[in-house]
Each structure stands twice: as structure tokens, then as C-alpha cells.
């Protein structure tokens, strides 16, 4: 270690000071290696032009200009020098000595460690994950990355995501989940939720039926065709879509209940364990179903918790969720904390289910708050147009790459961006909807959408059903079936969900959550 000249000079001047000489020693703003530094001497000296530089010891990259009264530059770290640094000024009028010394403080970026988690812990998860592919309908780029905070503490990533393109249905399913750090098994909760919700979506949309036995998919596509061709309200399909989406959420919830039982822990936590976490499972869930039908893009979404789920229609941004916001900053509602037996559960689930359709939809983006807190700091409730534009410029260019695999790799790197104070896990799924519409996918879709493969020509009776839907006929096909009679823990009972039919009439006129919060 090189001996700092600073110590010697400062000590000799302190000795002079003790002997009654005019020496003043002052502390200036500390340096941070690698960060631009400016210090105005006039904040210490009354008449900086009456001083001359007697001596100085400053890190490489920093210089002093006494005439200008400035110390400035970008300090470069020397492997063996830690300071203290100083400048020694002499006042030409009264020959007093002025010492200004500069400490060095660590750059917070250098304090972040990257510690491997204990691999013997249950539910290990890779630090990153990514996925990139393209077909005639969509290009998808997705990545997830362990945040600096988890790296620093040697903890696993808690975010998760799944993407599946169902060839048979020609539909894209996206699930993104953010495990909550306060719960021991949140990384497993996010994995379960992503996996189970997509299994459920596939099943519901392939084979799911309404209570009266009609194929859910058929009901949705009929209603959607009527909306497109006959200007029927899109609301008509809301109950079916709600059924599909909330079944996915409920299927995930049941898996969580099962997992908690297997682990022998309460689902929602209980007291804190020795590592300061609650034992249970807690994670947000953002779900999207994306498909093209009769020349229109259509998206169904469901969300609980925070994060951002949006559709881009050219320059227009539509938020396809209602962010949960507690009174405080980061309070949010994980799937495991939904009150499934609440008397207003149907309304709540319906309010969480959005239908968005547009011929010009260009992108769907789903992200955890690790991304949005870093790049869209005003939060999801009021996307700042400037922030949003910058964000899109940064990430959408990856779609220009010829290989989506490579694009996903690039996105994974991008997710490591450094923004002070925001170091959560980050997950971003971006879907670019292919504008080149050869409509080649649609006949196949329609054939599957209808038992007989007929063109969507509606009968009078169909029409009547649609118009009366959810209104006079309590037994009609719009009934939501949220339960399949699976047994759950008493504490986490979902039995009452069967009662949702009782509140059927209250759904009447519930608006479909079409585009809101447009910029």
C-alpha cells in the first residue's frame, strides 16, 4: 500500500495549527470513483482568487483550478490508493493555510455482491430464464433475471413466466408471476401459478363448457363474431372470458393449497421463521390470451397484484389490468390472498378480467414491477408518455433482430440495467403481433370454434340469447362455473365460490373492460 501523501501534509499542518498558526482544515464533498465530480471552492473560501495552489494530491481524473474555484473530473480508482486526498491552498494576503480534504466513498454499484444461493434449499430456480420464437402470428421475446437484491443476499429468483403457443387453437398464452419476498415459498408459488394457469387455459379453451354444455370457446367466438359483424356489445362474451381466466387463477390457487398441504405449512404464512420470512406462498399473476379472429386481434387478460400488462395499438397504450394498490407503496394482492369465498367474488374476478380488441394492435407487453419500477417510475396507474416512449425505444428494437432466440438473450442482458434503488427480479414478456395478415390461420380456428364448421351465420335464437344474456334466463350459458368440487383446507375454503351463480344477475350490464387509461 502506498502511503498517502495526504496524511503527512495534513498532520504537519495540524501541528502548525496547534502551534497557533493560521491553518484551516475543511472537509469537502467525498469522491465516488467513476462518478463525475464537481466541487465549488467558493463554498469554503470567501475570496478564492486570493489563493494560490501550494500542493495537491487528487485521484487520477480530477483536477483543481483555483482561478475558476473548481475541483472537477471523474476520479479513477488506483488499486493501492484509498486517500485521503487534499488540496493545500495559501492565502496570498494573510499567508494563512487552507487545507481541503476529500474522502472517498464506495460507489454503491461496487457494493452489490453476487452470491450463489444455498442449493440445498428447496425449490431452486435458475438465475435467468428466456424464451424467443416466431410464427406467422406472433414474435415473442421474453426474459427473466434475478435482481441485484437477491444476488446480494444469495437468494433465488422469485419471478417466473411461461409462454405457450397452442398450435391447435392458434392462441398464445402468457403467464408472468412475481413471488413476494416476504414469503419463504414465493419462488415456488410463481412457478406453480405460471404452469397451472397455462394448463388450465389450454383445457378451458379446448374443451371447457358452460353449465349448459356449450363449448366455452364457441360461445366466445360467436359473441366476438357478433361484435365484429353485427355491432353487438362485446360485454356479451365477458362472462365466458371471465370463466376461462378465473378458472386458470383458481386452478393455480388449488395447486398452491395442495403444495402448502404437502409442505405442512399454512398457505398464507403464519409467524415469521428464523430467516424473517413467513412460511407460506405468495405471488402475483398476470395472464394473457392473444389470438386473431376475423381480421381482429383479441386479448383476454387477468391480473392480481402489481406489474404491468399493456397492449400497444400504434402510439396508443391500453392498460389491460387494474393495478392493486394498498395504502402503502408496495402493498399488493397475491393470488393466495384472494378471498374466494367473498360474497362479491364474481364482481371482483370480473373486474380483474379484461377483453381488448383492435385491428391494429401491434404489441402486448407483460412485466413484473422490477422492470416497471426501474423504467416507468410513475407506476402503472398513470403511465408517463415520455417514460413509456423511452422504454419502447429501448426494448422494441429487439424485434428487428432476425433471430428471436438471440433477441431473448439480448433482452436478458438488458434486464440487468442499473437504476438506483430498484433491484428487484425483473421479467419482461413482449409479443409483436404480425401485421402481415394472410388470414391463413383463421379458417382452421373457425372450424374448431364451431361444432359443424359452418360460417358464423347467426340464427334468431342465437341473437335472442345474446341479447338476453345474463339477464332473464338464470340457466343460460353465461353461468360461471368456478368450482369443480375439489376439497381444500378449511382455512382456504373455496366452497362458497359455487354460490357465484346467485350473483349472476348483478353482472348484468357490467361493462367489459375494454381499453382504459389511454394516453
Amino acid at each position: 500500500m502506498l502511503v498517502s501523501k495526504g496524511f503527512e501534509v495534513v498532520w504537519s499542518l495540524i501541528s502548525k495549527q496547534r502551534l497557533g498558526e493560521k491553518v484551516s482544515i475543511m472537509k469537502a464533498k467525498p469522491f465516488i470513483y467513476g462518478e463525475v465530480y464537481t466541487y465549488d471552492l467558493s463554498s469554503h473560501l470567501e475570496n478564492s482568487d486570493s489563493y494560490t495552489l501550494e500542493d495537491s494530491d487528487l485521484p487520477e481524473g480530477v483536477s483543481v483550478d483555483v482561478q475558476q474555484g473548481l475541483v472537477e473530473g471523474t476520479p479513477v480508482q488506483h488499486p493501492k490508493r484509498t486517500g485521503p486526498f487534499f488540496i493545500h491552498l495559501k492565502n496570498s494576503t494573510n499567508t494563512s493555510d487552507e487545507i481541503i480534504h476529500f474522502a472517498v466513498k464506495a460507489n454503491p454499484r461496487d457494493l452489490w455482491k453476487n452470491i450463489e444461493p444455498d442449493l440445498t434449499k428447496p425449490f431452486p430456480k435458475t438465475h435467468t430464464d428466456r424464451s424467443g420464437f416466431e410464427n406467422e402470428l406472433v414474435k415473442v421475446i421474453a426474459a427473466s433475471r434475478r435482481g441485484r437484491d437477491h444476488e446480494h443476499r444469495g437468494e433465488f429468483r422469485e419471478d417466473d413466466f411461461r409462454i405457450e403457443f397452442d398450435e391447435e387453437l392458434q392462441m398464445l398464452f402468457v403467464a408472468v408471476s412475481d413471488g413476494m419476498g416476504a414469503y419463504e415459498r414465493s419462488r415456488e408459488a410463481s412457478r406453480i401459478q405460471c404452469e397451472e394457469s397455462i394448463v388450465s387455459l389450454t383445457e378451458s379453451l379446448r374443451k371447457g363448457t358452460t353449465q349448459s354444455g356449450d363449448l366455452l370457446r364457441e360461445c366466445i367466438l360467436d359473441g366476438f363474431a357478433k361484435y365484429l359483424n353485427e355491432e353487438a356489445a362485446l360485454d356479451a362474451i365477458q362472462p365466458y372470458v371471465t370463466q376461462v381466466m378465473t378458472n386458470a387463477a383458481l386452478a393455480s390457487y388449488r395447486k398452491l393449497v395442495e403444495a402448502a398441504k404437502n409442505e405442512g405449512v399454512p398457505l398464507k404464512g403464519g409467524p415469521k421463521n428464523s430467516s424473517g420470512k413467513k412460511e407460506g406462498f405468495a405471488a402475483t399473476l398476470l395472464l394473457a390470451v392473444i389470438f386473431r379472429h376475423q381480421g381482429q386481434w383479441c386479448t383476454f387478460t387477468f391480473a392480481t397484484g402489481d406489474g404491468i400488462l399493456v397492449a400497444l395499438d400504434g402510439p396508443e397504450v391500453s392498460l389491460l389490468m387494474t393495478p392493486d394498490k394498498g395504502e402503502d407503496h408496495n402493498e399488493t394482492l397475491p393470488l393466495s390472498h384472494i378471498q374466494w369465498n367473498s360474497p362479491t367474488i364474481v364482481e371482483e374476478l370480473t373486474a380483474r378480467t379484461f377483453i381488448h380488441t383492435s385491428p391494429d394492435m401491434s404489441h402486448i407487453m407483460v412485466m413484473t414491477d422490477g422492470v416497471s419500477n426501474g423504467k416507468l417510475q410513475t407506476g402503472s396507474e398513470h403511465l408517463d408518455p415520455g417514460d413509456w416512449k423511452n422504454f419502447c425505444e429501448e426494448v422494441l428494437e429487439y424485434f428487428d433482430l432476425s433471430n428471436m432466440d438471440v433477441a431473448a438473450e439480448k433482452l436478458e442482458e438488458w434486464l440487468h440495467f442499473y437504476v438506483k434503488g430498484t433491484h428487484d427480479d425483473r421479467t419482461l414478456v413482449m409479443c409483436e403481433l404480425q401485421v402481415d395478415d394472410s388470414v391463413s390461420n383463421e379458417p382452421a380456428f373457425d372450424q374448431r370454434g364451431r361444432a359443424d364448421g359452418d360460417q358464423p351465420e347467426e340464427t334468431e335464437e342465437d341473437d335472442k340469447n345474446q341479447n338476453d344474456q345474463g339477464n332473464e334466463d338464470p340457466g343460460d350459458s353465461s353461468t360461471i362455473e368456478l368450482t369443480n368440487g375439489m376439497e381444500v383446507d378449511e382455512d382456504d375454503s373455496v366452497d362458497d365460490v359455487a354460490d357465484v351463480e346467485d350473483s349472476e344477475n348483478e353482472r348484468e350490464g357490467h361493462s367489459c373492460h375494454d381499453p382504459i387509461n389511454k394516453l
Binding site: G147, T332, P334, Q377
Partner: protein, 219 residues
């Protein structure tokens, strides 16, 4: 960026002189050093130091860890505790970036830690209601020794406790304050459920060994 504001109120009345004021100085110094070593705390915590004796003043306005200069506290005079609350209330209203419009994310709710070894020598007036109109994240009052007006402290805080007046206890208590700031700054990174825990849930585990038995009150 969302900051985590922390208001530390320290009694510097004459009765604190000796080991107590020395422990307070050392404790605050170590606090800033420790927080400068934890990247999350260093990036998000902002601390203000308010001292009170015959008068109360904001010795250090809300400052980030990097630029926090630890002043040397000296003990003398009486105990203007209520005035200190007034100074803290005004400072929090002025310095914290409160969520002004719906949807905007302001700073995190400020933490409040008060330490005193005696009885207030000034009058409360209407300060308490003003103080309570600030949305504090968590309010902790620590009495040093047994000659403390705990009834007053209980009116102010979510958590009230008393510790022995020796230097070690004071430093250990301040270490807990430091750990709590670190813990809270960490918990801000990840979400908490809307029905999640009370005030003690977000802080570091209370160092029971320095608390005088039977004095811990959590509202």
C-alpha cells in the same frame, strides 16, 4: 427514485451528558457507516437528525447516506420534546415527497425514532394532532433509563421501550435502529400483501436483551 426517509430525534439535554451522549455520537456514526456498506440502504435511505435540549433543531436535514456528515452532539439544557415533534412534523411535511396525485409514487412512508432520558420541559399545545397528521411508516420511542415519562412516549409511538442508560445499551439500541432501516429498505424491494403485518413486522427483531423487562409496548 423512491426514498426511505428516516427521522431520528435525539435528546441532548444536560442529563444525557457523559457516557450517554458519547454512546449516542458513536452510535450515530456507526449507523451511517453501516448503512453506507449496505447497497440497498445506501441507495434508498435518507436520514434527518433532530436534536432537542432547551430548544429543538434539525441538526441534519433529510440527507442521503453518501453525503451525511455526522455532527458532534453535546449535552446541555432542558428537554424540549414537544418542540422536537413540531420540528419533525414540519420537516417531514416539507422534505418527504408525499404522493401528491393519484397513481404517482412518492417516497416510502417515513420512519420515526425518538430517544429521550427524561420528561418534556415544554408544553404539548396542539402538536400531537399535527404530528399524527403525518403518515409515519412506523414510530418508535425509546426511553433511556427509568426516569422517563413513558405516558407521553406511549401517546406518540407505535412501539415504546426503555433501555438501560449505559453506553452499551444505547449503542445496541442504535444498532437495532440501523438494522431496522436496512430491513425496511430491503422489504421495499419486494411486495407485501395488502393484509400484511403490523409495524413490528417490518423492523428488525427487537433486541430483547437491552430492553428493560416489562417496558416494551407495541400498539
Amino acid at each position: 427514485m423512491r426514498r426511505l426517509p428516516v427521522y431520528i430525534l435525539a435528546d441532548t439535554s444536560g442529563s444525557m451528558s457523559g457516557a450517554a451522549i458519547q454512546a449516542l455520537n458513536n452510535g450515530i456514526s456507526s449507523m451511517i457507516d453501516d448503512l453506507n456498506d449496505d447497497p440497498m440502504a445506501m441507495e434508498t435511505a435518507y436520514i434527518s437528525l433532530i436534536t432537542f435540549s432547551s430548544a429543538a433543531q434539525q441538526a441534519v436535514p433529510l440527507t442521503d447516506m453518501m453525503n451525511f456528515d455526522v455532527p458532534e452532539l453535546k449535552a446541555s439544557g432542558s428537554t424540549s420534546l414537544w418542540q422536537a415533534l413540531q420540528v419533525a412534523t414540519e420537516a417531514a411535511k416539507r422534505e418527504v415527497n408525499w404522493r401528491s396525485t393519484e397513481g404517482e409514487k412518492g417516497d416510502y412512508k417515513p420512519l420515526f425514532f425518538l430517544m429521550t432520558d427524561g420528561h418534556a420541559t415544554d408544553e404539548p399545545g396542539s402538536i400531537l394532532s399535527e404530528f399524527n397528521s403525518v403518515k409515519w411508516g412506523v414510530k418508535v420511542c425509546c426511553g433511556v433509563g427509568t426516569n422517563v415519562d413513558t405516558d407521553t412516549l406511549k401517546q406518540i409511538s407505535d412501539i415504546t421501550l426503555q433501555i438501560e442508560s449505559d453506553g452499551d445499551s444505547i449503542q445496541q439500541y442504535l444498532q437495532w435502529v440501523t438494522n431496522s432501516i436496512t430491513t425496511v429498505s430491503k422489504s421495499q424491494v419486494s411486495e407485501v400483501p395488502t393484509d400484511g403485518g403490523g409495524p413490528t413486522d417490518v423492523l428488525a427483531p427487537i433486541p430483547v436483551s437491552v430492553v428493560i423487562p416489562g417496558t416494551l409496548v407495541i400498539v
